[in-house]
């Protein structure tokens, strides 16, 4: 009886044995066994909206965007002249809006605003107000959910150059590093509002609401669950020679 008990314990221990691999974990499992489940996504896109500005009031409010299930919302705007720009959330003014510092030095200007743990609502709105601006911004708003931990700014980068119909050489934002599994947003603004789009390198997904062209052309893109540093590069093709500024910002 005692022998049977000891043998049972040995069998149980054997079936729970694991192989220790040096140098970290390996995906794909062991031959003969089912692979382990893929890691669940950290960042998930919940909703997105966008609208092209009109005129020169310097104020733009996004259409309603759903933040139910989201713990992070970012909105991107561009403008001409003036500044600084202020981001607010009119429907829920007590939410705290933070701003990136990326490109606001000279025209064309572009900036990212974001809210951590926004109020849960199907009617969330985002607004950008630019003091002394000579244009009404175009705006995109995208809500996301981060599955664990509190979203926070990681780092930013900005770059620029010129582009035209015959010259769409990629313009790099510079590199943004990531800390674990990041959401990376990037955007390009060009000061000739032609109805041509811009392409972006890497695995980024372009915003599907635009591009928008009030005064300037603006396009954006995002990358979920970036685990390596990112250096997006944009290639707009405006029909006139255009100044282009590009930005990237990562959230951890």
């Amino acid at each position: 009886m005692i022998r049977i008990f000891i043998l049972s314990i040995l069998i149980c221990l054997n079936s729970n044995s694991q192989i220790i691999l040096r140098g970290g974990s390996v995906r794909g499992g062991i031959i003969g066994q089912a692979p382990p489940p893929a890691p669940s996504a950290t960042w998930t896109l919940i909703a997105h909206v966008g609208v092209q500005g009109s005129g020169s009031s310097g104020i733009i409010t996004s259409p309603s965007i759903n933040t139910v299930g989201a713990n992070f919302i970012a909105f991107v705007a561009d403008w001409s002249g003036g500044g600084p720009a202020t981001g607010t959330t009119p429907a829920f003014p007590s939410d705290t809006v933070q701003a990136s510092t990326t490109w606001t030095a000279s025209n064309p200007k572009v900036q990212v605003f974001y809210v951590v743990n926004p109020t849960q609502s199907a009617s969330y709105t985002c607004r950008v107000t630019v003091s002394g601006s000579s244009s009404t911004p175009n705006i995109y708003a995208y809500s996301f959910n981060k599955s664990s931990g509190t979203p926070a700014l990681d780092n930013e980068a900005a770059g620029g150059g010129s582009a035209n119909w015959g010259n769409d050489a990629p313009l790099s934002t510079g590199t943004v590093t990531v800390a674990g599994t990041d959401l990376v947003l990037t955007a390009a603004v060009w000061d000739v509002p032609t109805t041509t789009d811009a392409t972006v390198s890497g695995g980024f997904t372009k915003f599907t609401d635009g591009p928008f062209y009030n005064v300037y052309g603006l396009q954006g893109a995002y990358l979920l669950d970036a685990i390596t540093s990112q250096t997006p590069a944009w290639s707009p093709s405006p029909t006139s020679n255009a100044d282009v500024h590009v930005i990237a910002i990562s959230f951890k």
């Binding site: 035209n164 119909w165 015959g166 010259n167 050489a169 509002p193 006139s240 020679n241």
Partner: protein, 445 residues
Amino acid sequence: MRVICGIIFALFISFYAMAQTVINKEVDGTINWSSYGTTAYVLGGAEFEAYFHCMLPQFTNHIINWGRGGSSWDADFQSQEEKWCLPWWSAGLGSNYNWVLANDNGGYSTTNQTFNAGTNIALAPAFFYNGTAITNEGYGSIRLAHYFMGRIPANTAGGDGGSVVGNTASIQLNQFYNTPQIDLWHLLYPNGLLTVNSDFYSGGHPGAPGSLGMGLLQIIALGYETNVSSLLFNYATQTATTNHCTASSISTSGLSLTSTIHFDRMPPAWDVPNGTVTNDARNAFVEYPALGNSFNWIIAATNLPSGTWDCYIDGTLTDSGTSSQWALGRNWFTNYNGQLWSQRVAVLDWVRHTYGVNTVTLENAHNAGSTGFIPGVGDLINYQSIASGNYDSSGLRGSAYVASMATPVSNMYQYNQAAHDAAQQTNHTILFFKQGAYSAAPFRP
């Protein structure tokens, strides 16, 4: 003196650095100089096209003329755009440009008439007029930008005769489509170009000087690069400062300086009488002297011993100037001597071969029953003839029509390839030689 020359050359370099539209990929385009750029007047339009082959020799650029004698913009839209342009645009691998110059056909007397005609042309590639209606031919994804190029002064007192409103409408189209504003009328008229009756052939067609002005001023107004290259030798140090060119094996011996040079590119040519060619565009630079410095192809040499120095390219006397003049720099844009000019002319000739015209008379070199300058290979005359057969007679449209034009397009590409090949840059030997000096070989020209 060295400081002054350095400052002057620095100014050249600064000018060089001024923002211009740098094109960094293949240009695929269509030029519409209806009335002004067709048979017998293949002048400025051809020079405009030659610019792209000469300045972008690293690419094989595919450019075709879709202008038609006596045609208005409405007629171009209704009868030529799908027929002549769609096969070309759909084959293009780069950025398709459509440069469209307003003209005196159609009796347009208001800005609205020209503006509306322009917006019809700009419906492409999403829509074309297929002979009966404006339709989507399935090519909306073609990369295409329309550039409306203004309208030239008329051969009348004051230069108006309805051309000003056409020019204004073209500028409105530039604003509407956010393209560079081409105020061609005002670029041409006040400065003396196209203000003299002798500048026109019959029917209001500009002569060689005015036509050259039309082509160059359009390039300038578009913002395309006009700083071709700069090359500054220092005789004292046997060094060179270069931009868009290289200089190697620099040496001096006696009163000479020699080097192997290699340009990246060159400006286009125009007609200069040479015993065979009779058209003469040089008066453009007399009527409008500033045009002579509208492009910069600068050759300079500092610290040359005082005196007059000849400059030879590959053994051919190409320019002469005093040491002071060389220190300031010589702009070879308007230099029509030697091998460099011959190469520029060769490119222009290939553009004219593309059109199927005689390079001297500018009249059609053959009819549609025979092929062009390249034996057995159809040129624009054949292209347009086959297009008429397939589009008008056979009634093909859309993809079926495009497929039917594959061979004519391919044939035209051979002419573009020839222009590209003619524009390729090679090493040259440059020799500065002080007049009256003696030097032993190999420095003696």
